[in-house]
Amino acid sequence: MAAVVECEHVTKRYGDLVAVDDVGFRVEEGEVFGLVGPNGAGKTTLIEMLESLRTPDSGSIRVLGLDPAKEAQELKERIGVQLQTTSIQPNIKVREAVRLFASLYRRPLSNPEGLLKTLSLEDKQNSRFRKLSGGQKQRVAIALALVSDPQVLFFDEVTTGLDPQARRTMWGLVKDVASRGKTVFLTTHYMEEAEHLCDRVAVIDHGKFIALDTPQNLVRSLRGGSKVLFQVEGREIAPSEFEKLPAVSRAEKVEGGFALFTADGDRTLQELVRLADREGFRLAGIRTESPNLDDVFLTLTGRELRE
């Protein structure tokens, strides 16, 4: 199967700054591919090279088999783009914008105004763009990206600046787009967003890919694994007792109970219950904490993602 996006040794410099540094990857058809990294990591530079807004200094890029630098015109007919800061004519009405953008493509959706319903913009269709809320503006941006019925969509920080509820709505919309078989390439600096939406995630830092895998594998690759938290009732017990349990690397007394660091949370849990039976104490408030992509980023770079 042909890759929808294919990059080899792509590099982009701005003066002394290497914004994108020898990056290579493939995005397969139907995939939701996420590019995660802190601000200034090179996410936007990379996505804009795929959209033909910037040209790489070296390396090769193919999107839908086309070279964005040389075959931009044909490529633009077939991709849908949401830019990091979407701005359209401030006084244009939502319905007018959707119609206008549809008119710019050779093969637009037969009923572009149907998107207003899909994106819950029906009661805003006669509002001017500048009067919309941030979440509504982003939904218009998604509508404009979809009017051409593109094979692949590029979303650059589609939820940045949105409140949690609008972000959830946006996630639903992205999932909906993906479920219709479209390939999605998105950037974000929210790990939970990448975890929630993406089939595969590339972690980018200082222009380089430092990891590329499914969110599950990235989390699994973390040494230390998960944490089991619980309280003990009916008996005093020393933390060292728990360190004898299989897979447990460390046990600590924490506020309100114990924390076991384990490479295998499930097994530790089973053995813990057996131990409690044997020793005659009761367990309460058991919960496990799995590492998430934020921990992955912290482990890979030694820095918090949002610092």
Binding site: L53, L83, S87, Q89, L100, L104, S148
Partner: protein, 247 residues
């Protein structure tokens, strides 16, 4: 040219929603003509035009004002504004071509100028008894050439100016001299001798003088003036093509 008509129609509607455009190119020229009639009541001596009322004398300048205002507020401020706000950037990731975009702006602006001129005629006919003695074909022809030249100049300003603010400064520094020197109401003949060639070289002067000749039914012997207009159109178009920036 995909989307040309839709872009033009949208831009026309957006112009109608823009108070600056509506005031300066639709309302102001008619107001200027009416106030001038009330205040001066007759041409300044030395203009060389006789036989019609003062409103008819002012009509060509008022049309020039519609063209000037629509072109100087329309293309340059719209282009710089769209560039600063990323509208052009968003359009750039669609298949639309620069030529289509610029052409659509020109169509919408021409339509706007036509509306402005119709308003002038409506006001002029209804209240001021304006008359045009010469040929309507020649009148329309000069108007269209003026619109083309000024659209080109406006686009050139919009392409060179780095920001909305600097576009504004460039525009007003061109606007004021033309009001004073392009025969709106002051005849070039009464200007100091050294200033007269400069006044004649301004792009609005040929539009105003030729239209005035047509209004008074004077034979058009100064058609070389169209060369000045053509020169401005060519230079401005080259500047636009050379300096147009999406971002």
């Amino acid at each position: 040219m995909k989307g040309l008509f839709e872009l033009a129609w949208n831009e026309f509607k957006l112009n109608l929603r823009d108070p600056l455009m509506v005031f300066w190119s639709l309302a102001f020229p008619a107001l200027w003509m009416a106030f001038s009639v009330v205040i001066f009541s007759q041409p300044i001596p030395g203009s060389g035009y006789e036989g019609l009322n003062y409103a008819s004398f002012l009509l060509p300048g008022s049309i020039g004002l519609v063209i000037l205002s629509a072109s100087f507020i329309g293309a340059p401020l719209t282009l710089t504004n769209y560039r600063e706000n990323g509208v052009l950037r968003r359009l750039r990731v669609t298949p639309v071509k620069i030529a289509t975009l610029v052409f659509s702006f020109s169509i919408s602006q021409f339509a706007f100028v036509v509306v402005g001129i119709l308003i002038l005629f409506a006001v002029g006919k209804a209240f001021l008894d304006v008359q045009v003695l010469g040929s309507w074909v020649a009148f329309s022809g000069v108007t269209v050439l003026g619109m083309v030249a000024f659209f080109a100049i406006g686009s050139a300003v919009g392409s060179i100016a780095r920001s909305f603010r600097s576009a504004n400064i460039i525009i007003w520094s061109m606007y004021m001299p033309m009001i004073m020197l392009s025969e709106f109401f002051l005849p070039i003949a009464i200007l100091p001798a050294w200033l007269q060639p400069i006044a004649r070289a301004l792009p609005l002067t040929p539009v105003n003088t030729l239209l005035r000749d047509i209004v008074y039914g004077v034979p058009l012997h100064d058609l070389w003036r169209l060369g000045i207009l053509g020169g401005w159109t060519v230079v401005a178009s080259i500047i636009t093509v050379r300096f147009f920036r999406w971002e």
